[in-house]
Amino acid sequence: MAIASVAAISLFGLAGEVVQVEADISDGIPSYILLGLPDAALSESKDRVRSAIVNSAEPWPNRRVTVALSPAWLPKSGSGFDLPIAISLLLAQGAISESSTHQSIFLAELGLNGELRPVRGILPALLAAKRMGYTKAYVARANRIEAGLVEGVEVIHAAHLKELLVVLRGGVLDTQMGQVTGVPVVAGRSADLSDVAGQPQARRAMEIAAVGGHHLLFIGPPGTGKTMLAERIPSILPPLDREGALEVAAIASIAGKFLGATELPTLPPFLAPHHSATAVAMVGGGSHFIKPGLCSLAHRGVLFIDEAPECSSGVLDALRQPLESGAVSISRAIGNVTYPAEFLLILAANPCPCGRYSGRGRGCTCSALQIRRYLQRLSGPILDRIDIRVVVETPSRIEMAHTGGGEPSESVRTRVVAARERATVRFQGMGWKLNSKIPPRELRQRFTAEKSAMNLLHQRLEKEEISARGFHKILRVAWSIADLAEHERPNLDDVELALQFRQSLGEFV
């Protein structure tokens, strides 16, 4: 047989498309043509594939070889096509039988010696393969754990092309090879909240933010524990379910950050980019392969930006779209990719450039104007999306001397999970799960606070102390406070606390 076809997957964002790798060997002067919009890495596959085949003691066709990747119009990238190209060439020469590759996907890079090397994006690729009805996947051994996360696809992994060919020729599976099952799902480790001394106000704010998915701003002088607190937020969030953990792992896999992982962590991700990060790093981008950005890597987890006012202008504002829609849509010449980006945004800022304007502000060397301008670097639209603002002060003598440690994460998380449960039941069948996602109209009609509390809000609105948007934001936070307190509906206290969290920046901004 001089024509053969083998299936592979090309990824575009999280979506995968089946690509048929067709090989045609015809009479003619030895030559090799690769068709189907390959990128640079893929164009180089020719020499890798040839060396790998020859060094595995398999026949290389010294004839006219045409390899076509179909659909031809779809731009393809990456080295994962090495293995399917090699297999299609061997198939076209009759070195293996066609029935052995039926219903199978092949994805691996080849080393010159025939070694199978891992590629990124195996997890989303196999999820796509499964959707299209493929039941078997051949991958590099280093990708086996990741591939094994996809239930319903039999994973055959090998370290070398020779090894893989033994299987394709009906040989016995090596004990090391074959199906991967039961990839451990583990909690993952995070620092514990019991390490933090004092900070009752900040702890309360974190707990409320975790319940309702409200974005949070910490303001306080250096060394008061803003970073320490933020790092511990994943530990009080409810653990991810399997589906969520897979989604997080799939994004990490595309970014090449999941290679070599041996387990599926259920701890929500925590990303803390430096404030010098660019807007493209934040939302994602790239010319021939569109990479997910930090906000997508923080999907279902926490994105923490320390020293937020130091960010270049535009970087924080680039987060406005994902904050609004829970996804980023990135357009480049080769197409348009959408990555999910539902994250909890935590910003931390010093109160002023020197950082000492707090408490009685005695050590501060900044001018009044500098102080006023500092937090104004956070743009209005971004600040407007932050529902909870909290001032983090230096812990008091008593708090520091207290040796028992703070409340551990686990007991906080138990309350958060219970409160989220109440919200989930309340919002059953409504299309959203978190308090921060209640649409404005529903807030005014179905999900109002108690009458006295509503009166208070309306008064504030009338006095122009809060905006109409602020009115809704305060109500949403109030619902999270009520869920924690097991109130049927937010009462006056709940709303007052929410109001306080919204306004506690008064002295700075």
Binding site: G28, I29, N62, R64
Partner: protein, 120 residues
Amino acid sequence: MSYRKELGQRGEEFVAQHLESTGCEILDRNWRVREGELDLVAQTNQGVFLFVEVKTRTSRKYGDPLEAIDAKKAQRLQKLALAWLMTHNAWDEPFRIDCAGVIFDTTEQKFVLDYRVGVL
């Protein structure tokens, strides 16, 4: 004569014999002009002119003999073939360019032929 030249000539001779055995008539050998050389020119018993490029090697160690024919060489062969037809007043006759890869097995003192028809 150097070993390589001799090997090349013996290869060409072997291919010529093969062509004759299939009923072709050899018209020219090593036809040379400034642009290059045609190894073999022949005519089949149906009257088709054949231009045959012969590549001879003693082993596949440095790749298949036919791999030595690249796009530039192919283009040159086409030009030479047309030039030959012009000079022999046969420019509207049917013709074909073939390639022959010959491996000379030094241990068994035998030629192995890989003949590809009409590849350019």
